[in-house]
Amino acid sequence: MTTTSRPQGIHALRRPRGLGQDGVFRLTLRVVAVLIVIPVLWMMVDTFAETVPVWERFGIPGFVTGLRWAPSFTIYGALPFIYGTLLTSAIAMVIAVPVAVLIALLITEILPPRARTWVAVAVDLLAAIPSVVYGLWGLLVLVPVLRPFEQAVAGTAGKVVPFLAGPTPGPSYFAAGVVVSIMIIPIIAALSREVFAATPRLQREAVRALGGTRWDVIRTVVIPLGRSGVLAAIILGLARAIGETIAVTMVIGNAPKIGASIFSPGFTLASVIANEFNEANQELHPEALIALGLVLLVISVLVNGLAILIRQRFARGVGRVV
């Protein structure tokens, strides 16, 4: 009566010869993945092949750093749009991140349970509004409302800092940044809310049992444990901000030059492509617009790559979270 009554013992532990079920599954997944990626890559290569004349004419540095955009003179420089994209995104992030994180904290930590649901639903609804509606609202409502504020800033700080100087025509980098911030607040808030809500109960109770207040819970466990998740939320918001097109076109003023002040009209990569492509009949104009698309793609990839790096650092820092 020894263990020999289980003849298969050792064999049962061995890896199966050949692929096995798991192997077949994995192989199938890989084939499918490649089948999906190939046409996407091919489409991209095909599209961007069109831009070759642009690079031949201006060179990559020449195009990317070019300050003038004058299709009727066949002069194409991308810098005003790169600047506009980065500036509006930065303005949007500066406004949206604190507001969204605050909303998320209100919903998970601060408001009484019934109010939580209402605020959460309201914020989620904001995310469902179409871009073009934000654009209309921005143009008709927000721009006039922001005007006195812009004038006040331009009249005080703007006298010293050219970056904040007047005139304040209305449509501007600033207006676009504010509209985009409102569009990305729900995205960042919704994701941060889930991150905060996932704080382990045992950690919250540890703080409370030590005489900590709700505020102590927020600053010692909710935020430190949620950092990497909130960062992911911020990145998603940033990606949306960089790519936002219609609403921006409607409030940025569509001026293809670098405005010295945030209250000057400008243009972004995405909005100039949407705005000009239909009527692009000058020499190299369509090609230059596609080249701007490529620049936009590179910026998005860089931002996301950077974000992934930061996130990994954070995740490692937190380490063994239960």
């Binding site: 540890a206 030590l210 005489g211 900590g212 010692t220 380490g319 063994r320």
Partner: protein
């Protein structure tokens, strides 16, 4: 603006009379029952409308270890959480009945629950150090929450004192900056005890503090508890009969009634409960003849 009191103050102990009174009255004083720290009377605890603790009355002696034993799910943790007003933090949960601390009704409307939790510390079943904080900061955390301490030097002193009290100092003194969760499970639990001690509470509630520990770490924590009872009143929930009989002075046995709410079967000195229980249920449980 008046500052709210940081902790509940037990009334001062009456000073011993300077002039000795008659021998008779002196003896009477000696025979008085030991002073009570926490006294529960007719406590009921609910989650929503479901009652999980029914009508429990417990006198908890000062500077002693009181063990609460009973089958799983009979409401031991819930009862413990009623004492430091943690129970009410669960949405929908509430407490009925009276819990007194040195005669102060802990559920009176003018009592600040935060002050209660500062006075009555708690150690959880699962070690729960703050993962983003160093060992040092874990112990300093309660002082920071409550503004108990000013200055780095005083903080260091507090951290060292509490880690020594929790018998952890020698193991961590060279790596105070390491993360709180880089320690072993037993060390983490002692870190949590040190952290609770840093509140300088008067009563310490311990919910199965040794259930995640090996026998050696368990023994360390038990010795620690015996050590601590000079300065603290300790209430411990445990599933370990040997532990209850080894360390505690008095023991309360809870079980579940037909309504699945926990009630008190009997409470007495630990020796009594384990050698000469008055209830058959208790005898069955402590001798292991019960589910």
């Amino acid at each position: 603006m008046t500052t709210t009191p940081i902790r509940l103050q037990p009334p001062p102990v009456e000073p011993a009379p300077v002039v000795s009174v008659s021998a008779a009255s002196h003896n009477a004083k000696m025979l008085e029952p030991a002073e009570l720290s926490v006294e529960l009377s007719g406590v009921n605890a609910f989650y929503g409308s479901r009652r999980v603790v029914r009508d429990i009355s417990l006198p908890v002696r000062s500077n002693a270890i009181t063990a609460i034993i009973g089958p799983s799910g009979c409401g031991k943790s819930t009862l413990l959480r009623c004492i430091n007003r943690m129970h009410e933090l669960t949405p929908g949960a509430h407490v009925e009945g009276r819990i007194e601390y040195h005669g102060i009704d802990l559920y009176a409307p003018d009592i600040d629950p935060v002050a209660v939790r500062r006075t009555i510390g708690m150690v959880f079943q699962q070690p729960n150090p703050f993962p983003t904080m160093s060992i040092h900061d874990n112990v300093a955390a309660p002082a920071r929450f409550n503004g108990l301490i000013a200055g780095k030097a005083a903080e260091h002193d507090l951290v060292e004192r509490c880690l020594r009290q929790a018998a952890l100092w020698d193991e961590v003194k060279d790596k105070l900056k390491a993360g709180g969760t880089s320690l072993s499970g037993g060390q983490q639990q002692r870190l949590c005890i040190a952290r609770a001690l840093a509140l300088e509470p008067d009563v310490l509630l311990m919910d199965e503090p040794c259930s995640a520990l090996d026998p050696i770490a368990t023994l360390q924590v038990e010795n620690l508890m015996v050590e601590l009872k000079r300065d603290y009143t300790i209430i411990i929930v445990t599933h370990n009969m040997q532990q209850a009989s080894r360390v505690s002075d008095q023991t309360a046995f809870l079980t579940m009634g037909d309504d699945r709410a926990g009630y008190l079967v009997e409470m007495a000195d630990t020796v009594e409960i384990f050698t000469n229980p008055r209830q058959q249920l208790t005898e069955d449980y402590v001798s292991g003849r019960f589910g």
